[in-house]
Symmetry: C2
Subunit: 214 residues, 2 copies
């Protein structure tokens, strides 16, 4: 399977396909046509066919898509067929929310460590992980197999923390701090900028109100 | 200013411009060329000129962009020039993280109410807002001016809650629950699907590892 030419837009949509297929599986649905999937997902059937064709013959004329097969294959493409170990840096509300979210573990993302600089938090256990202090981080990364670090700390500490992570071999950062990290090319950063999401909501609301005043 | 033809891609980028311009303002920078902004933001200068041209003559040849003016104008476009009242439905870790995030208030998003179904949480105060029970929600919406509702509750309760919000006049939902809400056309939904973000990270990590094994 050649994934190199798959557009970012398609990749962005894959998790949503995965979610819908997972729900169909739970309902015991074994196969589905692009038209049925289209009406469920509010995406055109031609878009669905185009997107899923990227991954080769999943659909069969007159039969539709084989739901368990498609679910498994998209899962593999998304790297969900094996376990990832994740640490969380910043044990505030957001970090604790991520640590407590059982769905991540079901998808293969296992929280193996939580770090903070606040000594008051030291040793508090969140779903079996005791909060560690930041000075333990380099040693922890040397002695544990960790692929992903979630940054749920204030902007002011994020750049320095990212540096420590990269120096200790982390190749994937899930960044909630509201800044763009400077990292080497081989380090993957996925940003969740909540303020920016809220501004897009505000933009659309503002635009809607303006248009309806006319 | 005609905003109708501005592409979604440009809109998606505006909050990031706003953030960089805000940082420049804090540093006392009064004007900046598209080239300088380009090297800061790691976006091509031509992309910057194209994006900002959408909003009419902000840039002047040989002078560059007037930072305070551009910041203010983009703020207006994003609807940040007036206060929005927001409620949070679901007072778990994520809801509390949003309620505690002071940056939102600085941007004009003021949390005026927090709701949950768990009676244990009733009356607990988060930055001056006492957690209310869900059965108080309709009355609260009738007697308070609320524009935005953040949904930080389990997927299983989200659809029903969105229905109550819409029936009581909410026009903007910031949805963290991992499902697509069915709402009337005039209701704006901005989704933050953390699982999907994590899957994109996993996809990119997986792809990187695969390519480097070759």
């Amino acid at each position: 399977m050649d994934e190199k030419n798959i557009s970012r837009a398609v990749i962005r949509r894959l998790p949503r396909y995965y979610r819908y297929l997972g729900e169909l599986l739970e309902e015991g649905v074994e196969r589905i046509s692009s038209n049925e999937l289209s009406s469920k997902m509010h995406v055109t059937a031609s878009q669905i066919r185009q997107d899923l064709n990227n991954f080769g013959g999943f659909g069969q004329q007159g039969y539709g898509y084989n739901v368990p097969y498609l679910y498994t294959e998209i899962g593999k493409i998304l790297g969900l067929d094996h376990m990832h170990h994740m640490i969380i840096i910043g044990a505030g509300n957001l970090g604790q929310a991520l640590a407590n979210y059982v769905q991540f573990e079901k998808r293969g993302f296992m929280v193996v460590g939580i770090f903070d600089i606040n000594p008051v938090l030291k040793g508090i256990s969140i779903r079996g992980n005791e909060i560690r202090m930041m000075n333990e981080l380099p040693e922890f990364l040397r002695t544990n197999d960790v692929q992903i670090a979630a940054l749920t700390l204030p902007k002011s500490n994020a750049a320095e923390t990212a540096k420590i992570l990269v120096e200790n071999g982390i190749k994937a950062i899930w960044n909630f701090a509201h800044l763009d990290l400077s990292v080497p090319e081989d380090v993957i950063v996925e940003n969740v900028h909540l303020s920016e999401s809220l501004m897009r909501l505000s933009y659309n609301l503002n635009r809607y109100v303006t248009e309806h005043k006319k």
